[in-house]
Amino acid sequence: MTERSEGIKKRAPAVTPSDEGGLMTGDPLEEVRARAARLRGRTERVRLGEVTVRDLCRYAIAVGDDEYAVAARAAEAAGRPVIAPPMFLTGILSWEDGPPEDELRPDGLGAQESPCTEGLPVRQVHGGQAVRLLAPVRAGMTINAERSLTGADRKRGKAGDFVILGLRTEYFDDSGTPLVVSDESVIVLGDGDGA
C-alpha cells in the first residue's frame, strides 16, 4: 500500500487514545462497554492509500494463491486492469505506517486496532465477519474508508463474561463509489494479568 505520512487507521471507529482514558471502573468489560457507548453514532472517514500490483501479489502469495500473482503481473505487462483478490481490502488489518514497536500493546496490537480497550486488562479475538463486495477493486485505486462502532454487547460464556464489539467499515474509491462493506465482531475477554 502506498500510505500517507499522517498514517492510516483501520479498525479504529472514531476511537483515539484521548477518547479512551484510563480504567475508570473496577470491571474492565464494563469499561469497554462504557467507552463503546460514547462512540456510538460517530463515523470516522480516513484515506487508506493507493493499492499497488505488488500489494495484491504479495497478499495472494501470502495466502497461497500463486496463480493470481502470475496472472496479475501478466495483466499489468499487457496494460490490462489488475483486479484485486476479492478479500484483499478486508484482509488488511492496518494501513498505518506504525505504530512504533514500543507503542504496541503487550499482545502486539496497536491501540487503533483494538478499540475501547486501551490500558485495560483484556484480550481479544476475532469472532467473525460479513463482507459485501459491491464493486471490483483495481490496482491504482485510492481507497477511503468510513468506520463506525455498531454495538457492544456483554455475554456470558463457559469461560466467563465477554463483550462483543461490532465494527463496520465501508470502503470507497476516490470518487465515492462504494466498493466493500464489512461488518465484523471482535470478542473482548477479561484477562487478569493484563497480557
Partner: protein
C-alpha cells in the same frame, strides 16, 4: 454442471504453515502476537500460534471461486469462528449449494461452508454468495 441445492463442491485442503501465517500477518500489517509468537500464544491459553480469522474468510472465498470458474463474481462472504485453528494443522473447506436463483444472465448461488481441522473440529462456518454466468 447443473446448479441445484445440495450440490457439493470439491473441498479445498490446505495447511496453514508457520511461514504462511507469518507472511499473512506481515502483508496485512497484523502484529498480534498470537499469530507468530508461540510463547505469547501459550500465555493467552492457546497451545500454538493461531490462524488469522481473515484467513478463514479468504479460504472460503477461494473454495467457491475455484469451483465456480472463470467469470464468477463474489457478492458476499460471511463466516463465524467456532474454534481456534493452529499452525501446521491441515484444514479442509467444504461447500454445499444452498440456493440457486436466476439473476442478470446467470445464476446467483448461495453456498454453505464449513472449515474443519484434521481432528474433525469445526473451526469456522460461513455463507458465500456468488454470481455465475
Amino acid at each position: 454442471m447443473e446448479l441445484e441445492p445440495g450440490l457439493v463442491c470439491p473441498p479445498l485442503e490446505f495447511t496453514p504453515t508457520r511461514v504462511r501465517l507469518f507472511r499473512f500477518s506481515a502483508v496485512s500489517w497484523n502484529s498480534h502476537r498470537i499469530h507468530y509468537d508461540q510463547e505469547h500464544a501459550r500465555h493467552e491459553g492457546f497451545p500454538d500460534v493461531v490462524v488469522q480469522s481473515t484467513m478463514h474468510g479468504e479460504m472460503f472465498a477461494r473454495t467457491v471461486l475455484r469451483w465456480a470458474g472463470h467469470g464468477a463474481v463474489l457478492h458476499r462472504v460471511e463466516w463465524r469462528n467456532h474454534a481456534t485453528a493452529y499452525a501446521d494443522v491441515p484444514l479442509t473447506c467444504s461447500a454445499t449449494v444452498r440456493t440457486v436463483r436466476e439473476a442478470d444472465d446467470g445464476h446467483l448461488v448461495e453456498l454453505a461452508l464449513t472449515e474443519t481441522a484434521a481432528d474433525g473440529t469445526v473451526c469456522a462456518t460461513g455463507t458465500v454468495e456468488v454470481h455465475i454466468s
